[in-house]
């Protein structure tokens, strides 16, 4: 089971990284979504895996429970990552609507900076 989870995290990470290295905003958003899955599962797995031991206390008997703390952290992380994705989508959308394409790289704009000598003359 551990191998299944670890390899899934690895596969999601690899796919996510590959996609965020693409040149278009939408691919990057997809990549970040995959990375969010990977990170969430990774964090969750840091509480170690357990089957049939949900951290719901039983009033009747003494049971073993899985680690609740990573779960609580991941729960909020899932919701926050949605917020983050939404902001990114909106930014990407705005950039696309105002600039004609949804590339993420700036090109040929670095050349236009001031000549070095001018910096000291405010």
């Amino acid at each position: 089971m551990e191998f299944v989870v670890a390899s899934s995290v690895g596969a999601l990470t690899a796919a996510g990284v590959y996609l965020i290295l693409r040149l278009r905003a939408f691919a990057v958003i997809l990549g970040l979504a995959l990375l969010s899955y990977a990170v969430n599962v990774f964090l969750f797995a840091s509480g170690r895996l357990a089957i049939n031991m949900p951290p719901i206390l039983s009033p009747y008997e003494d049971l073993a429970y899985s680690d609740p703390l990573p779960q609580a952290l991941v729960l909020t992380a899932i919701v926050i990552s949605f917020g983050m994705t939404a902001v990114l989508v909106m930014v990407a959308l705005g950039a696309y609507l105002e600039s004609e394409d949804d590339r993420i790289d700036l090109e040929d704009e670095a050349e236009e900076g001031d000549a070095p000598g001018e910096v000291s003359k405010l």
Binding site: E2, A14, N40, I51, L69, M84, T85, I104, K121
Partner: protein
């Protein structure tokens, strides 16, 4: 805390508190402004003087507030003789400057700002001289650099002012950075950042192998601040400031900070050959160089500036001698220099103010036109020249006497000879100040007709002139003050003997040589001046500018080389670097043996795993077809939800599946306006490179996860499991952690989510008011739309489902404390119920039928959660302490009510509001893109049949707002 220490903290804080006032009350008038600047200063001065008797008796007053004890940083202040002297000078001259500036500044200058800067600066200076913790001292040190930058650049319209301010900031700031390093080394040597401890550990410091680096770094800070050679060049350029600033910064405060630091550190650092050769030599060079240049400056303020450089060199040299007598002389000269130099700067300011020029070559004969100013200027300039019977004479005598006794590199005459040379030039430029400005015939070509200024303007320099004469004639008056400060500098009690007449000593002969030589130099000024102008001299500003330009160019090349605007490049570097670093950390450590058994893999999990891998791979392969990639992403999210169910995390599963739904909806909405396909842009090599990076990163993460999952770990979760029911009243431990144990985190989290929602709303508003709106209107999106945009089945189903879905949300919310569920999930479920209406029946149709303000819903959520948390205060408990009890009303079974549930309600509202606001914002864009409103619940749009011509519903494409 005793009254004494309390009052010390108040003294240190008063200028900062006072600084808030003048800046905002300039409308009340310039006088009110000046008064409210003088008030805190005067109050602090009075409180300070109340401590004077005790301090003169050798008492040290201390106050300490813990700030960051882990770092050894505390807000510790102490007041000893040296601090007393400087604090008195800072506040006393501050008062005089406040008065003088009131009359000096014109009506067009923003006076409120000026006074605020002045008080900020004053507070920073006061902090330096009162700090008992070197880290605190460093903070104030940097604050003086920053606030003096504001003061020097006060006349923002003058390029010289801006450049001078920048140069001062660059030089003193760089020195300050060096000093931070030196102070940290010092703290490490002693093992304490407490100044008192450091001063007591002088021998330990001087014997330490890190003594020299610490010394050099600290001296760099002091030398840059006190304008010592070769950092002296910033001071004359700072003269572009208004004269009150120059008078304050360059007589009593800013530049004296370096001298103060050397005096302060004297017991800890002085007395070694390194100290002597560095400090005394630099001081000597600076003194001579400053005096020589001063003689050839035609600008009154430039003359005074270089004279200040020279006198600072003198002080540095005296401190560098490392003897007790020299330290006494230094302390005495600090007082004298303050009195005559502040008065001289103010005199120069008066001349400038009245004659509209400070160019000595255009002045002369002012004694008849402005007699009061002339008297003040003459007396103080004579004192600067070191001519009896004024106070400058006595301290110069003392300096020469010390110089005579000093052997430099086995050479007994070089120090006295150079010191005398400095004195000669000092006399020459002082006499030039008198004769070329006030002496001579009255001219008829002044830019303005000069006359004496109003009383308010000459009162301050006149008061200082009285001091100059008093101390000169009756030097024993100053003895207690000098002893007080010198005792603090040297660390043991001193007995200064200040007399006007010391008898026929070598120092007196040297003084006579200086006066005669100075007079001769002045007589020869014209030919000398021509020679000076003709001689090639290095121009410090040009060198500084070139150096700065070179540095800026280097920085530009580096930053433009590494930051070329390509985000994918940064990300590639970032991921690759992280992977490599992770690998390095990994390879250097030996993991313990695995301590956990592997869990079995049942067939159904195997199927899910294969599905996940296939889905992940297909996202990568078909990411160019964006719709398809999105669908596959949804599949991945579902499998992960199943994984959470299987691995005992029901809450996570619920959250994941509902978030998945809204995420996909969001992305679908966005995709409506984005290109539907990603073009192929990167070549095979680039893709191969990215693939390698991605696989390496993935493999690293997988390996890391695999390794730690096989090993046990000690966690704090045992506490949560044990106390969830007893302390939090809930059996769903995850929920109790969220709303109780770690409620603060959750509180922050819902605020973040709310902010994200508001950001999206704001972005949407900005977009719809910008060029994007036109583009949206003019693009034809109709071919994307289905003819059957609001399918009958879906409309009916969602409307029937709506109450059920909301009921499910309420149920999930209510059971959350004890069973999987809670505010987060409930908020998501309800938002999905609402979103289904938007999807099925259309945005406008739904929007008209529900009157929910999502903004205020976020606000209410945060407020409810916050008030619930604050409610704990009523019970005397810390923020967010929860309470609960069990109730039993027949016929309902016993149930529990917890304040955590109210908190969860806040979470619910914030999540619902945030999510809805995000999707609402995106949907509103659709309305701008020509989305039509359906009139009937289910409409079939026939206009789509024949390419969009038909009877459209343009009359209903009303724009929102």
């Amino acid at each position: 805390m005793t009254d004494d220490s309390f009052s010390l903290i108040i003294i240190a804080l008063l200028p900062f508190l006072g600084a808030l006032v003048p800046g905002v009350m300039i409308r009340a008038g310039r006088n009110a402004c000046a008064i409210f600047t003088a008030l805190p200063t005067a109050l602090a001065l009075v409180m300070l003087l109340l401590h004077a008797p005790a301090v003169m008796d050798g008492e040290v007053i201390k106050a300490e507030l813990d700030w960051l004890p882990q770092l050894g940083l505390s807000a510790a202040f102490f007041l000893d003789g040296l601090g007393m002297l400087f604090a008195g000078m800072i506040l006393g001259v501050g008062l005089l400057i406040t008065l003088y500036a009131r009359f000096y500044l014109s009506g067009e200058d923003p006076m409120g700002q000026f006074y605020t800067y002045l008080l900020l600066f004053q507070g920073a200076m006061l902090g330096i001289v009162l700090s008992d913790n070197i880290l605190l001292l460093l903070i104030f040190w940097e604050l003086t650099s920053l606030s003096s930058f504001l003061l020097i650049g006060y006349w923002k319209h003058l390029p010289e002012g801006r450049q001078g301010a920048r140069m001062a900031l660059a030089v003193t700031g760089a020195g300050g950075l060096a000093m931070i390093g030196g102070m940290l080394i010092l703290g490490n040597i002693v093992g304490s950042y407490n100044l008192t401890d450091i001063l007591a550990a002088g021998e330990q410091i001087r014997a330490h192998e890190w003594y020299v680096p610490a010394l050099v770094l600290i001296l760099l800070g002091a030398f840059t601040k006190s304008a010592q050679f070769p950092f002296h060049f910033w001071l004359p350029h700072a003269m572009a400031a208004p004269t009150p600033v120059s008078a304050y910064l360059h007589s009593a405060t800013m530049v004296k900070a370096g001298v103060f630091l050397m005096a302060r550190m004297w017991p800890a650092l002085a007395g070694t050959p390194e100290w002597f050769y560095i400090v005394a030599s630099v001081g000597l060079i600076t003194m001579v160089l400053g005096a020589v240049i001063a003689l050839f400056k035609d600008d009154l303020k430039a003359l005074l500036a270089f004279s200040t450089v020279s006198h600072l060199g003198l002080l540095t040299m005296l401190l560098g001698f490392g003897t007790e007598a020299a330290a006494i002389a230094a302390v005495f000269h600090i007082i004298n220099h303050l009195t005559f130099k502040a008065a001289l700067f103010m005199t120069a300011g008066i001349v400038d103010h009245e004659a509209h020029t400070r160019d000595i070559k255009r002045l002369g004969g002012l004694a008849k036109l402005m007699p009061i100013t002339a008297v003040i200027g003459t007396i103080t300039a004579l004192s600067m020249a070191g001519i009896a019977p004024f106070n400058g004479f006595i301290s110069k005598e003392k300096m020469l006497e010390e110089a005579v006794h000093t052997v430099w590199w086995e050479n007994p005459w070089i120090v006295p000879a150079l010191a005398t040379l400095g004195a000669v030039f000092s006399v020459a430029y002082s006499l030039r100040f008198i004769f070329h400005v006030f002496g001579g015939k009255v001219r008829d070509d002044y830019p303005a007709k000069p006359h004496d200024p109003p009383f308010g303007m000459w009162a301050a320099p006149a008061l200082l002139t009285v001091l100059v004469v008093l101390i000169g004639v009756m030097p024993f008056l100053a003895e207690p003050v000098v002893n007080m400060a010198a005792t603090a500098v040297t660390g043991h009690e001193t007995h200064a003997h200040l007399k006007l007449w010391h008898g026929l000593t070598p120092a007196l002969y040297l003084s006579i040589i200086a006066v005669v030589g100075g007079a001769i130099l002045l007589a020869l000024h014209k030919p000398l001046d021509r020679a000076w102008i003709a001689a090639p001299r290095p121009e410090a500003k040009a060198i500084f500018d070139r150096l700065l330009a070179a540095l800026a160019g280097l920085a530009q090349r580096i930053s433009e080389g590494s930051h070329n605007g390509s985000m994918s490049r940064y990300l590639a570097i970032f991921v690759a670097a992280t992977t490599v670093l992770g690998y390095l950390a990994w390879s250097g450590s030996a993991a313990a043996a695995p301590s956990r058994e592997l869990l079995p893999i049942p067939p159904v999990v195997m199927v899910g795993w294969v599905l996940l891998l296939v889905a992940t791979a297909s996202v990568v392969i078909c990411h160019r077809n964006r719709f398809r990639a999105l669908v596959v992403i949804g599949v991945i999210g579902l499998i992960i939800s199943f994984g959470f169910v299987y691995l005992s995390a029901p809450d996570l599963a619920l959250t994941q599946i509902s978030v998945e739904t809204v995420t996909i909806m969001l992305l679908l909405l966005a995709l409506h306006f984005l290109p539907k396909a990603t073009p192929v842009e990167s070549g095979a090599a680039r893709r191969l490179r990215d693939g390698v990076i991605a696989l390496a990163a993935g493999a690293g993460v997988a390996a890391l996860a695999y390794v730690f999952m096989l090993r046990d770990v000690s966690t704090i979760s045992g506490f949560h499991l044990a106390n969830s029911y007893k302390g939090g009243g809930g059996t769903n431990v995850v929920n109790v952690i969220l709303v109780d144990f770690r409620g603060y985190d959750t509180y922050g989290e819902i605020i973040v989510l709310g902010i994200a929602g508001l950001i999206i709303f704001a972005l949407m508003e900005a977009l719809l008011n910008g060029p994007a709106a036109a583009k949206l209107r003019n693009t034809d999106y109709s071919q994307d739309r289905s003819r059957d945009r609001h399918p009958l089945m879906m409309v009916i189903a969602t409307r029937v489902m709506m109450p059920v879905a909301i009921m499910v949300g309420v149920y999930i919310f209510l059971r959350g404390h004890n069973q999987p569920g809670g505010g987060f999930v409930a908020g998501l479920v309800v938002s999905i119920a609402l979103l289904m209406q938007y999807m099925a029946s259309g945005f406008a149709w739904t929007q008209r039928r529900q009157q929910i303000e999502y903004h205020s819903m976020i606000g209410w959520g945060v407020v409810i959660a916050g008030l619930t948390g604050a409610g704990a205060w009523l019970g005397g408990k810390p923020f967010l302490t929860s309470g609960f009890d069990y109730y039993h009303f027949p016929p309902i079974e016993e149930f529990e009510l917890a304040t955590a549930m109210l908190f969860d309600l806040g979470v619910f509202l914030a999540v619902l509001g945030g999510v809805m606001l995000m999707l609402y914002s995106l949907s509103r864009i659709a309305r701008y893109a020509g989305e039509t409103v359906n009139v009937a619940p289910m409409d079939y749009d026939p206009s789509q049949d024949d390419g969009g011509e038909g009877p459209g519903k343009s009359d209903q494409t009303e724009r929102e707002r």
